[in-house]
Amino acid sequence: MNAASPVAPWNVRARVRGWLTSRLPRTDTQLLTQGNVYILPTRAGWMFALTLIVLLVASVNYQLNLGYVLTFLLAGSGIVSMHITHGTLRGLTLHLRPVAPAFAASPAVLDVVMSSPSSARFGVGLRLLDAPASTLAWTNVPAGGQSTAHVSFVPATRGRHDVPTLSAETRFPLGLFRAWTVWRPLAQVLVYPRIEADAPALPAARPAAGGPTQARRSEGGEVEGVRAYRRGDPLKLIAWKKAAQALETGADLVSRDTSTSARQELWLDWTACGSMSAEDRLSRLTAWTLAADRADADYGLLLPGLEIEPGDGDSQRARCLEALGLWH
């Protein structure tokens, strides 16, 4: 998926292509101009040319002046369609929205906004440069407006990766020509480790250090009271009815207070994963992180050389996953 992925030395075509692609500047907003839109006839275009030759030969042999008219009308339309095809991409602006982190081996979605300052553009497709044509995501761009196309790719490994090279193409209007552009976005995508399928249950929780020993177990089910919303509180903790009242009076959101005093601490520990390879351990820890987050527990992460204090909520989840994704 990376531009740096090794290419066999005898694969000249792929090497040339890789070299050409690597020369492209990386940018998150790409204006398509004469300089970066390419155009070539499609197979249908060659077939059309063959049809034109057959029509011309028939016109010559049967001395059909109307046959000439037909042949030249189609030829003229074909030539005009070449300009229209090229013009469909030229002037478009492609912009990559910030990419949400993804898990290895599951699809990461890229949102690309296409905007046209002038006329409407029909049938613009977007795909990864290396993906087959069947994966094209089609969209129309309204005149003076914009539209969004989504393409996804499956990152193989965790870490911070360059967004793969994208390609936008169109065959509008007659399909005789294919205009395309190659675009290397600047953005990087953060890839978390692969989620282990059928991971074992979460390890047992320990009472929080320094907390009351007789802790009541509470998983957000029993409401002990309310408190002001704190950043990172999961949505389901918000007391919506109370929050609505509070908002009306100009106050902030209100969250349920789930007896923090009675917390148990769950440590997701590298060493608890048994004898597995490092990547598999990271996968299991990822699965556990997600499970703990779903269970709404307080959890911390223990990696060799890295410790994340227990916590909960979306921020804790993001922190842990990022650590897992970037650990080495």
Partner: protein, 693 residues
């Protein structure tokens, strides 16, 4: 779609959801099927009935499948139907080669291909086959109507092609049609340039013997074939006689194809020797003085010259045309080596009185006596009875001819250009029942009767008669003067011309002007209501048709070279034309490239405005990023320069209003940009002046 049509559709298709509620795939498929039906439809008159029925069934079937969103038939079904279609084609024509079998197969293939239309992209073969099918219509007719009908077809095909490349949503047919029309309209200059300049060259190989008969003549004859040209008053050729002799119109027979082979339906030419050196005319003896003449032949679109009978191939008499090889066939018809597609002018000499004392070899004799079994049985019976009644067992050909002509005169035959339709045994029907027709009926029936009576006979087609133009002394022969007559063979006297039409309508032969055709129903009503309007309509139509013929159909190398002359080329040649074509195409390509280059520097005017303003701000030492709104920049300006820069900041606020408020404007205000740049420059000067102190 109007209400009654919608109601009719609802009756025909019980689960019809309404045109606008159709799913996109179904709608596109139905549209394509309609375009295909429209493209095939004009072929209905000359394709075998099974081909039309099969096409209709397949298209309707495919339409129902599209509506029901059902699965398409498997490949083997389609292959099976295709094999059946090929078999039926062979059964109909006894061959798979040639124009008509080819067209039949193309139509069958086209309809079957629709059964394979799964994805919209698969349709490409259908489109290209469709364009080819459009061309095949021009083999039969190049009239204005055909051109308009086929223009609709091409538009429909292009629209379907555009639809296939709009994969998102459900674009309306009107939108796709507009986009298709736009491509075609922008392409029109290319079309006109190529049409005018593309060098017209002769056929690349052979001479298609089955070329179309827009003119009164074609290589073949079948009953009803000439009726259409009775209306065609366009000029076929002009003749001027050198010595000022004025031959009688009834002696002016211009000889075209000689049709001796009869298969029951159609008369065809004998496949004579066509190549090789001209042979001396066998057994023709000219009588009396020759008649020198000059002929200007309009594009006849056949590989022949309709010369005055009889023009021998002797030095001084035979015509000569640059670029053509001329050959006198043994049946006395003048042949060219390729289709005559331009106006040609030549001099020749003819002997109106001649004898063609040719022998008849066994093949020729068999052919000139052949009557296909199973056709016209009643005429055969009638002939046998006629022979007995008139005691013709031992009579010679002349006596038999005289007896049959006498029968034609006395048996109540009438001459009409609107005889109606004759069926399979048309000769039976004409000779015994209806007895109304024109030259082709008389000539073919006469030949059949003579053959039935044991006399070798053949049909001659050509032109007969001429109008003497009062102005320039030219004789004008029009397409409507196309004629058919007969020749019978008698030992020692050879082939003798017999014109059975003259027996019933001597005025058709003696008087130059043709009979005016009977008007159709609408034209007849119009004529009684308003003769002036009728005349005017007819005149406009003829003028329109005439320009069509002149500018489109008869545009040939002659006109191309004239065009070059008018452009200032002194002795234009084929190469000049080619150079001009290449030049014009290069100019067009360069124009396209120049436009694209200019377009490259066109960017969004809003973006350009912001770029200029950011440049001005950078000059003031204010960093401005591309994503920052004018409002943010205004705040930064105020922070840096305070009240001094208020006018500059106010302009940024105004821009914010113009772009994002409810009263936003469509195009950038260039005055605002200018004022902004001016204020920025002033501020810069002020700031620089303040800095040292």
């Amino acid at each position: 779609m109007n209400a009654s049509a919608a109601a009719a559709v609802r009756r025909a298709v019980p689960n019809w959801p309404g045109w606008h509620r159709l799913p996109r795939e179904a709608r596109d498929t139905l549209f394509l099927l309609a375009v295909i039906a429209w493209t095939v439809l004009p072929h209905a008159s000359h394709l075998p009935a099974w081909a039309i029925a099969m096409t209709a069934i397949v298209l309707v079937w495919r339409g129902r499948l599209a509506l029901a969103n059902a699965a398409l038939p498997g490949r083997w079904v389609i292959v099976g139907v295709l094999v059946v279609a090929i078999g039926l084609t062979y059964w109909s024509y006894r061959t798979l080669l040639g124009k008509e079998p080819g067209v039949t197969l193309a139509v069958a293939l086209m309809s079957l291909k629709t059964l394979e239309l799964r994805a919209r992209r698969d349709a490409l073969v259908v489109f290209f086959l469709g364009f080819f099918l459009v061309l095949t219509h021009f083999l039969y007719s190049q009239s204005l109507f055909t051109a308009l009908a086929m223009l609709v077809s091409v538009w429909g095909l292009l629209t379907a092609l555009v639809l296939a490349h709009m994969p998102v949503g459900k674009p309306s047919l009107r939108q796709a049609g507009g986009l298709a029309a736009r491509s075609a309209l922008f392409g029109a200059p290319v079309m006109v340039a190529l049409f005018m300049l593309f060098p017209r060259i002769g056929p690349l190989w052979g001479t298609p013997q089955d070329a179309l008969g827009r003119t009164g003549l074609s290589g073949t004859l079948r009953l009803g074939g000439v009726a259409e040209v009775a209306n065609d008053d366009s000029i076929a050729f002009r003749v001027r006689f050198e010595e000022g002799l004025a031959p009688l119109p009834e002696s002016l027979y211009f000889r075209g194809p000689v049709l001796a082979r009869f298969d029951g339906i159609e008369w065809r030419r004998r496949n004579g020797p066509l190549s090789g050196a001209p042979v001396t005319t066998p057994g023709v003896r000219t009588i009396g003085l020759g008649l020198s003449y000059q002929m200007t032949l309009e594009p006849i679109r056949l590989p022949l010259l309709p010369l005055l009978e009889f023009t021998p191939n002797t030095v001084g008499a035979a015509p000569q045309i640059d670029g053509y090889t001329l050959l006198l066939r043994p049946d006395l018809q003048w042949q060219t080596d390729r289709i005559v597609t331009e106006r040609v002018r030549f001099a020749a000499r003819a002997w109106p009185r001649y004898e063609h004392i040719a022998g008849l070899d066994a093949d020729e004799r068999a052919e000139a006596l052949y009557l296909p079994p199973g056709f016209n049985p009643r005429v055969a019976a009638w002939a046998a009875q006629f022979r007995r009644e008139h005691d013709l067992q031992d009579a010679d050909a002349m006596a038999i001819t005289a007896a049959v002509l006498a029968h034609i005169r006395s048996a109540g035959f009438s001459y009409t250009l609107a005889p109606g339709y004759y069926g399979r045994d048309g000769i039976d029907e004409f000779w015994l029942d209806r007895r109304a027709g024109f030259c082709e009926h008389f000539a073919t029936a006469f030949v059949v009767v003579m053959r039935a009576l044991g006399v070798p006979a053949r049909v001659i087609t050509g032109y007969q008669g001429a109008d003497r133009s009062p102005l320039d002394g030219f004789y004008v022969v029009r397409q409507s003067y196309a004629h058919a007559w007969a020749e019978v063979w008698q030992p020692r006297r050879g082939w003798q011309r017999v014109d059975p039409t003259a027996a019933v309508a001597p005025e058709r032969i003696a008087r130059s002007r043709n009979l005016e055709p009977q008007p159709g129903l609408v034209a007849g009503a119009l004529r009684t209501v308003s003769p002036e309007l009728m005349l005017q309509l007819r005149a406009s139509w003829e003028a329109l048709n005439n320009s069509w013929n002149q500018w489109v159909l008869n545009y040939s190398r002659g006109q191309q070279l004239d065009l070059l002359k008018s452009l200032g080329v002194h002795s234009p040649s084929w190469e000049d034309l080619a150079m001009l074509t290449i030049g014009a195409l290069s100019t067009l390509a360069l124009g396209g490239a120049a436009w694209a280059w200019w377009d490259r520097h066109r960017i969004d005017p809003w973006v350009r405005q912001m770029e200029r303003m950011r440049d001005a701000l950078r000059g003031l030492g204010i960093a401005a990023a591309a994503h920052e709104a004018p409002r943010v920049l205004a705040a930064r300006v105020r922070e840096r320069y305070g009240a001094q820069a208020e006018s500059l900041a106010a302009l940024l606020d105004a821009l914010e209003q113009q772009r994002y408020s409810r009263a936003s404007i469509v195009r950038p205000d260039t005055a605002l940009t200018r004022r902004f740049v001016w204020h920025a420059r002033r501020l810069r000067v002020l700031a620089r002046a303040a800095a040292p102190g």
